[in-house]
Amino acid sequence: MSAAATVSGIGRPRLGKALPGALWALLLLTPAFVSLASVSFYPIVNGLYLSLTNTSLITQENEFSGFANYVQLWGDAQFWNAWWHTMWFTAASTILETVIGLGMALILCEAFKGRGLVRAAMLVPWAMPTVVTSKMFGWLFDGQNGIINYILLHAGLIDQNINWYGSPDTAMTTIIIADVWKTTPFMALLLLTGLQTVPNSLIEAARMDGAKGWITFWHIRLPLLMPTLLIAGLFRALDAFRVFDLVYVLTGGGPADSTETLSTLSYKVLFSTLQFGYGSAVSTAMFVTEGIIALIFCLYLIRQIRRAQ
């Protein structure tokens, strides 16, 4: 960058004369635009188109079928079952991760001995591949030899081993716990950076006025943290919505479809039954739902920012 700057001072523009500036800019944007369009726009548009066809690799059909897939989707109990599970998973994990993450961020914001080490160590769960986390939680919550059962049993909280992944009442909760363990550090980190932007002078001024810790947090830190909180929540919600590996490794969607999410369902429809048309409709429905979630977050965020101004 600096080399270009020095060089540009010496030489006179040659081609610049022949081409107007705007055209140059557009020309230089083309590679980026083309690569982005080919890996991002084209797949999305093609996915949308596929969802309007009855494409299936097995039956070899590939015809435009209008909204037939969406009509089928509307009446598909399995889809709605997966949709509700996904929404529940997204809401529960995002809220828990935000609350716990905020707590962690507040602690890590304080000065104490070994803070750097704790900050680094905190990120370990997040840095682990999800498949490893999944296997680990598979063993932790194992119905026969799991340590969770062992602890609960010896603490007298349960009177017999619980088969966490084998019962529809507990399977989803267990997966949510695994996700919270894994991703809370990520939230904590995002919120910590947000907290550090809150000017110390404001907090000091509040202390001078006699505000206690809780009041400082509620009236100064939290309002100023709100935009960060919303953006972090948005990231997390959109990410949680796509949950796949945890479910795929731990339960495969069972028992009795109680952990089926939209990602696992669309994987099954797309790649096990090779119905690319219907599978794309499921994916598009996911896309639309994610769009709505993002919209709600953004509207709220804008309102927050306006109010702050």
Binding site: M1, L15, A25, T59, Q60, G166, A256, L274
Partner: protein, 448 residues
């Protein structure tokens, strides 16, 4: 940012530009030349070899199995054994990634280019490939008299719409593992019906000999369908009607069978509730660590049970056909890979030659010895060499005789997802009849 934008516009020293461009040009040029050279060399050689020997060139695609050798070695042996056909081996992912193998095969076959000419397929794909018109009917090459050497169960799985569209290759099936030492204490006779099995299992559990009476696989996955096919068939029931156009899963026989599985957890309590989240490996572990009396599983368990490093039950394990209901016959879900010829193959004769060789007695023997994969020719179970080197495999003839195909329908992929979900719901809730009725409706919509 502004620097970046301005840089190229105003231009740097022309000299620098030229050198860089020159060097780049040179690099591209030389790379191209190199590429062309290797290409020329490659094609030149290929052409020469083909002309010199004028062999028909075909390709063979299969999931990658390993043992003392690979399928690549097998193909090499075929290429060296004759000079009419030259086979190129296309290696697909291992059988543990069967979804990926399936995708890979479907994509290639759907192109209808004739590649691969010969392929191996999981038994559950055969009907789909046949219905799509990708698999060449083999009846004229393998008439009735040539087929009788194979197990009936595998032949049924290789037949779609009355035509033989795949040739049996190697197989596996569900089987009944038992603990010889514990059984000695409880009568010593291997139970051949489910009720006796439950009684013995409960007794052994009560006596404290084992923690679990009977282990099976109830995870919402393909293996649940396998377990279900076995128990339903052993009660003279079926998942699909013989014509494949409607479901029989809500009939009395099937409901009784699924009810029995539900009861093993909730009534007879010979199975832990954990089986609902177990597939093969989680159910194998308690068995080989000596905690269970009976288990349904595939043949891979036996070598592990006999390995002192991984097992507490060395020499204490026996294998038998699975029990049946009164009036029913023992059934074992068929697994394994069978051979097919691409209907669009341009080298049919060569493809048939490879097919015949791969499924021949000699090659099946070689696969049994070197890969540990059981032959589909029943006579090979009397083979002296297999008997000495793979005594366990040789003992499985009785088990394999009961081998039963999973529902034969081109819509199998959809049917199995419905089955996994429906049976899992029935096992969890215990409303077997209601769930089976709902499941039958769903399957009727798919296959009807």
């Amino acid at each position: 940012m502004t620097d970046m934008k301005k840089g190229p516009v105003s231009g740097s020293k022309p000299v620098a530009h030229v050198t860089i461009a020159d060097r780049r040009q040179f690099l591209i040029g030389s790379a191209g030349l190199l590429g062309a050279a290797t290409l020329g060399l490659g094609t030149g050689l290929g052409v020469r070899r083909a002309r010199a020997q004028s062999r028909a060139e075909i390709s063979f695609a299969s999931a990658a199995f390993f043992g003392k050798e690979t399928f690549g070695d097998l193909i090499k042996a075929f290429n060296e054994s004759q000079d009419r056909v030259l086979v190129k081996n296309i290696e697909l992912p291992p059988p543990s990634s069967s979804t990926e193998v399936y995708q890979g095969l479907v994509q290639q076959l759907a192109r209808r280019t004739g590649t691969p000419d010969v392929f191996s397929q999981d038994v559950i794909w055969i009907a789909g490939f046949a219905a799509a018109g990708w698999a060449l009917p083999l009846d004229e090459y393998f008439p009735e008299d040539k087929r009788s050497a194979y197990f009936t169960g595998t032949l049924n799985a290789c037949t779609y719409g009355g035509k033989l569209t795949a040739l049996p290759w190697f197989m596996d099936s569900g089987m009944f593992y038992y603990r010889k030492d514990v059984l000695e204490k409880h009568g010593g006779k291997v139970p051949d019906n489910w009720a006796d099995m439950a009684t013995i299992a409960a007794a052994a559990q009560k006596a404290g000999d084992v923690d679990f009476g009977y282990l099976w696989q109830g995870k919402q996955a393909e293996v649940l369908v396998c377990d279900a096919v076995e128990i339903i068939t052993s009660n003279n029931g079926a998942i699909l009607a013989p014509d494949g156009k409607s479901s029989l899963i809500n009939q009395k026989e099937a409901v009784e069978a699924i009810q029995f599985l539900h009861d093993t957890i909730n009534k007879t309590k010979i199975s832990p509730q954990d089986v609902l989240s177990w597939d093969e490996e989680p159910s194998r572990q308690p068995f080989t660590s000596g905690k269970a009396m009976f288990m349904r599983n595939w043949s891979y368990v036996y070598p592990i049970a006999q390995d002192a490093k991984a097992s507490q039950v060395v020499d204490k394990v026996g294998v038998a056909p699975l029990p049946a209901f009164p009036g029913g016959k023992s059934a074992a879900t068929l697994g394994g890979y069978q051979l097919g010829v691409n209907a669009n193959s341009k080298q049919r004769e060569a493809a048939i030659e490879l097919l015949t060789w791969l499924s021949s007695t000699e090659t099946q023997q070689r696969i049994a010895l070197n890969f540990g994969l059981a032959p589909t020719r029943s006579a090979l179970f009397q083979d002296e060499k297999i008997k000495t080197e793979q005594p366990f495999m040789a003992s499985l003839e009785k088990v394999f005789t009961g081998a039963t195909a999973r529902p034969i329908t081109p819509e199998y992929a959809k049917v199995t997802l419905a089955l996994q979900s429906g049976i899992s719901k029935a096992l969890v809730s215990g409303n077997v009849q209601a769930e089976m009725d709902a499941l039958a409706d769903q399957i009727n919509k798919i296959v009807g």
